[in-house]
Amino acid sequence: MGYVHNVHMSQYIPPTAMHCVTGTYTNVAGQVIDTVCVHRAANAATGVVNIPIILPSSTTGQQGAMLNSIEVDYELLVAVAVSVTAVLNKVTRGADTAVASVAVPTITQDLAAGVAAVVQDQHKMTVTVTTPAWTDDDEYYLLEMSFECGAAVTIDVLAAVANYTLRV
């Protein structure tokens, strides 16, 4: 029986899989023809986009997927934002009748929340997990992106890509 240990795997996560709250979000064509995005209308509030990290997990220790980093492609249009902040949440599912629990693994984001990440421009934010861990079958990750906006800025979220190690 073979064995795979590949440290260069990536998974595209489309905007249609993302969970968007606070604000008015619609599916529209992207700024570049033949791309797609979820668009947030102008709203002087903090919009929150949760990106489900859809990777394999495993009931066996040290197998399945180890999440290493996530890249988020988004555009800020019309004006600069106030801040764009990433938080990685690891959700441990509850047993029947029990609630889930949430932990916040340490990450770093390459674009400063109130500086480089808020410029009116195309963005690729890379969020790196400080201490990657194998994902148990009772766990999953959500990357919570908070877009603190002024009155004018609109947002296009194009895609995310999760980079991971696969061991099976």
Binding site: M1, V4, N6, P14, A29, Q122, H123, L166
Partner: protein
Amino acid sequence: MGYVHNTHLAQYIPPNAMHYVTGTWTQTAGVIADTIALHRAQANETTVINIPIVIPSNSSAEKGSKLTSIQFDYELIGAANTSVTPVLNKVTRGADGAVATVAAVAQTMNLVAATSAASQEQHRMIVTVTTPAWIDNDEYYLLEVSIVAGAGATTTNVLAAVAYYTMRA
């Protein structure tokens, strides 16, 4: 170290993962009990469905996934449509501060856009990639299906897509 090279992998893509522009789309039960669909209400319009091809990629050359074909299950209800046309787009993501770029990928389809793909019927469209290529971690595919509904009282149900690929890891 072992090695996987499997040419028969397939990935189901549900209708609620697809991206719909133009038209009024709602989640409904499928025509067959216990199936699900995205349903387009009747209108004389051209609607565009983008199907995200959610298969693994890889930053190492000649590893990850090689997309070979996509099957698209849909139903045209009420009357024949004018045409149903797929275009396969490969998106190369931009660096921070740069836009993405898009290239159309050569493909063939088993149905004819204005005839067999547009009839009032259940459909399984097969889009075959002419020259499959390994997907880099900065790339992803969107299958863009344009449905020209025409003046007939047509509605559309989208049931599913399945991406066929080779995996090497």
